[in-house]
Amino acid sequence: MATTDLRPAATAGTGGRGLRSASAAGSGRRRVRPARIAVNVVLLAVCLAFVLPLAWMVLASISSTASFELTLPSPPTLDNFHAILNTDTTFRPLLNGLLLCGGATLLCVVVSILAAYPLSRYRSRLRRPFLYTVLFTTGLPITAVMIPVYSMFVQVDLIDSMGATVLFLTASALPIAIWLMKNFMDGVPIVLEEAARIDGANAMQSLARVVLPLMWPGVIVVTVFTFISMWGNFFVPFVLLLSPEKLPASVSVFTFLSAHDQTQYGQLAAFSIVYTLPVVMLYLLLTRKLGGGFALGGALKG
């Protein structure tokens, strides 16, 4: 059930198209055609404008004399990739990123599912104030919190601790995750749970065996988006971690030119591609299965 609910834009779009072409078949066909061609042309121009900046990354990564100029590589070479694919430059930052973001995402998803259950299922005087607080917190600029967090971490000697960074990343992603999880959980009818309750299951058992299996698309949407936003997050690890061997790829891509040969723009482009690929793959996977960002676009607004 939740699966079909997750793609409002897609289904509504095709439905509308069907209707319109049916009505256009009568009188307005001649008028509709040029309009649609114009729309397509405009959109293709927008596409070109959006793709153009990406061209530098691709061309520079296979060029031996890259700068920030846009030039065709002559001849194309994979030297840049060969140069960066080693432990210090690529594998360790990627692994650090995976540990930080993977750990924080996992923690965030588990904790938000637990929190969403009572918020979705029980009525209480405290529920509304809590939901309001969660929603309010989703709006706060996390960037602004980083300086006090830094001061606090210095006081309790947690600077440069990956564990503490994971916990902070978790907390910063938690409000929006709780809110989305609760919305997805509201979509699972409580009737199904009652049968399990009658058979003697407690709240956690019915959450694990009845509710979760029915809302897994929602859980995956939240998981993937939490991970993608953390993978790209630069400021949090930049402020909280110091040792080069603990830095994730989001920071090492920033310090790439100063840490390596200053002129290796081609290697920078190659590293950017390697660093970006995991989230692009994740996103594509999500789109194939669940309609991607459009599921999020709909679910954001309760």
Partner: protein
């Protein structure tokens, strides 16, 4: 669920527990909330309280053995500091220019147009616009740097069209970072509006069409009023996101040249960490938090948590 565009909530709000349980069991039922409460209290509420305290002290990153309470000194200093006022102004330009005008308008336009486009064009547009959004922010910063670079792609295109070339990152850095943020953030608005447009009743649009309303008329008088809640929500969310943009600007210009693209987050970072004035930096952070909080309250007013 009040909003028209809440796919997950659509199945109908579940009938909740009957209520009237003794206090002990309701405490037990709230137990799963505990991990979230602890994490949020320690890592978000804690720093915010600390922020309020620190903003009234002269805390420094290095040296100073003692921290003193200095009252409003950091704030009077800020509002007398031309660099702070410059940052405040640039933040406003950045938020209004790139989010409220740029992302919002382009996102809405793309959502409306993709609905009318042929399928391959629609998929392509969604794909490339969202690709810019999925990219990590520092990578996006580098790409935008290369794009606006003096010998970069944008000037190549302008040159090919016979238009004058510009040294964007020196003459108009704030425009460059605004456009960069439009490039990176438009996907969000596009997705919100696509979801909202999908919920506009077809009969309504077609009735207007029958009455002879033109495209603009239909959009202005039928579609936009129906999705106005989504518009307000989207405006709030992108404003809040844009307020805290740091990495994109820092990777592109580091706030420079001079302070010509120094928005509040960049200014705050440089005061706190490069000038080692943690107290002053925290006061700026507090200003940013308060602005964010105000927008967040408006956002709350727009969204009813629930109709009970």
């Amino acid at each position: 669920m009040k909003s028209a565009a809440a796919p997950a909530g659509h199945a109908g709000a579940p009938a909740r527990g009957s209520g009237g349980h003794p206090a002990g069991s309701s405490l037990l039922r709230g137990l799963p909330l505990l991990p979230s409460l602890v994490l949020l209290a320690v890592f978000l509420a804690g720093p915010i309280v600390y922020c309020v305290y620190d903003a009234f002290t002269d805390a420094q990153l290095t040296g100073a053995a003692q921290t003193h309470f200095v009252g409003l000194a950091n704030f009077t200093r800020a509002f007398g500091d031309p660099d702070f006022l410059n940052a405040l102004w640039l933040t406003m330009v950045f938020v209004v220019g790139s989010a409220v005008v740029g992302q919002n308008t382009l996102g809405l336009a793309l959502a409306v147009l993709t609905e009318k486009a042929t399928r391959p064009v629609r998929s392509l547009t969604n794909g490339v616009v969202i690709a810019a959004w999925v990219l990590p922010e520092i990578v996006a910063g580098y790409l935008m740097y290369a794009f606006f670079y003096q010998q970069g792609a944008l000037n190549d295109v302008l040159g090919a069209l016979g238009l004058p070339r510009q040294n964007w990152l020196y003459t108009l850095p704030i425009l460059a970072v605004c456009l960069a943020n439009v490039w990176r953030g438009t996907a969000f608005s596009m997705m919100v509006y696509s979801a909202a447009l999908g919920e506009v009743p077809r009969e309504l649009v077609e009735a207007a069409e029958m009455d002879g309303a033109g495209v603009w008329h239909r959009l202005w008088h039928v579609t936009l009023p129906v999705i106005r809640r989504s518009i307000m929500t989207n405006l709030m969310l992108i404003t809040l996101q844009t307020l805290s943009v740091f990495g994109l600007i820092y990777a592109m210009t580091r706030g420079g040249p001079g302070n010509k693209s120094q928005t509040l987050p960049v200014f705050m970072y440089q005061q706190a960490f490069q000038n080692s004035l943690i107290g002053y930096g925290t006061a700026i952070a507090l200003v940013l938090l308060v602005v964010g909080a105000l927008f967040s309250v408006v956002y709350l007013k727009l969204l009813k948590v629930e109709e009970d």
